[in-house]
Symmetry: C2
Subunit: 372 residues, 2 copies
Amino acid sequence: MSYKERREKLYTWMSENGISLMMVEDTEGRRDLGLRYLSGQPGDALLFLCAAKKQCVLAAWDVNMARLYGDADAIVALNDWGRRPETALPEAAKLFKLPYGSKIEVPPATPYPLFLRLIEAVGDYDVLCREEGAHKAVKYMRAVKDADEIAIYRKVSAFTNKLMDEIEKSVRNKKIKTEMDVALLIDARARDYGGEGLGFETLAAGPTRSFGIHAFPAYTAGPFGGSGCSILDFGIKYLGYTSDVTMTFVGAPISATQQKLINLVEKAAKIATPMMVPGASCREIALAVDKLFSAGKRHMPHGLGHGVGLEAHEAPLLNSRSDNDDVLQPGMVVTLEPGLYHETLGGVRLENDILITEKDNEVLTKSRIVRL
Amino acid sequence: MSYKERREKLYTWMSENGISLMMVEDTEGRRDLGLRYLSGQPGDALLFLCAAKKQCVLAAWDVNMARLYGDADAIVALNDWGRRPETALPEAAKLFKLPYGSKIEVPPATPYPLFLRLIEAVGDYDVLCREEGAHKAVKYMRAVKDADEIAIYRKVSAFTNKLMDEIEKSVRNKKIKTEMDVALLIDARARDYGGEGLGFETLAAGPTRSFGIHAFPAYTAGPFGGSGCSILDFGIKYLGYTSDVTMTFVGAPISATQQKLINLVEKAAKIATPMMVPGASCREIALAVDKLFSAGKRHMPHGLGHGVGLEAHEAPLLNSRSDNDDVLQPGMVVTLEPGLYHETLGGVRLENDILITEKDNEVLTKSRIVRL
């Protein structure tokens, strides 16, 4: 689907829901890859979409960059519009000759003080800032990948799989000895491959650091592999879309407790994977894993998975929170990442990316727990 | 200054300003290194500070990590407090036995819909969300570095300088040929050195990509150095604090226009550096450079500089916006980064980190425009 087709779909949603103008913001501190999804612009810009005119204007910090990447009916320098959302919004309303009283929707991430300034800046309009609105509609448009996006996911998954094989081999033959070794290899391969880079900072945690869900620092010059559990969580970004996998490397000797964590995590992946089919409740899948872990007297301190796409964490959410009503649909690409952590013995996590197909699913990535 | 001493200072500010409880949030999508500044906790947590009790509680996503890094009077699992700010805030108010009607200050980055939920969650209290409040006070506490922080800056600057020498040598002798070569070298050296990693994703843009203020992608397998202007913008993070420097590599032959950009940028650094003294208005320094560039019929599309610290972009801001009333003070570490960009001929930027001393300044880093 082209950027224009995505916007057409959004204009329809906006018209049906009475929204005349929508503002999408991707700036430092308030990143929203919805901007890229709708316009191709990689970041640092505001996008204003007018439903009645079916036109949009991109107000970019770096106008040279926007002219290269931005797909929009018009491109302006954000500086020329006063550099701030509250100065740019009235300019956009003027440009589109928006009738007074029209509804303008701003991002749900808009800070309260900025929201007040926006309301003041466009006093003649009705400004909405809500979680269940146009931005959520974009989020769920993004959650269901189209044929082009699925083709990208097949490519980035194949590459991620090849890289995991190389990593396993290099950990086994001790070419990779440190967290840094594996992290830098991934970074280099991502660029060699022609990827944009990484979907997120690689987390490489050797046995003494794998107790943390997200290792801090992300990686060090310290050992990776060897006795105990080492966790590697990474994603390759290709044409904007990121893979997201976690491998655990287990070196002998390990304790009975560590073995138990490994068994539980592998079992969780085994029971949850076949549940990942169209129509399945994300919450129920997560509850099934919670139940398995509870029976083993363990508790997973994070969600079971999440959609991936232009961002590493997207809709839908695979967690057991009571307000989670996400349902799997064909075209979604969702991670499944059961993990258990012991304060001193370290952690175990296994994460793969799963494409929901028409009637079933397809596990795109081939991550595993590697016994060294 | 210890974390506790920083908090003591903040409790005093809170008491003087009638704030009983303050919430600091560092979570995905709403990062605030104020959390780390006040508690040592690297991220993914809420910190609640009670002025009357002079005590704080850290509610962390990863409680194993918090027990290792978090300096607080109490640590709880965020999960046990319902995982969300609106469920955790009433728990904190209860824990501190906060008198009804007290003022609670939440981050200015709080989205409007969350702000409404917070108000509802603690109906008996007066919830403030404002830009000119306790969080801004922390921001300006952070802007002025103490002796320990300055000592860290001397170390990370010395290392950054050594690395810039190595990079210059390797670009000259063609050991570095691609953007990736230089970016991966920096990443490896940061960890070898014992740093936490990078302050931000390295931007390495060869001659065909240096037209962008922030190159996209950040670096590729494409050429770096050679004829034209290559920009390298990086920061090393050590004990939490990041350096931030930009080098430009100029390879012959270049055009008269490129030479003009180089001259203007070097001249800007030369006139602005001596202006960086205690009491100086940040806006006036930026205006002096604007004037120089205007005389050369050029325009800089970004600010002239910014504070550095636990984050790459901190207070004060060195820009010419009319509402910028930041004033330099001894102990501030501020970048100076004049830059000019041509849509096809590429860009030139020169960035150094400058410590404001009692009566003058000290340029900590030795970045430069390198003629190849």
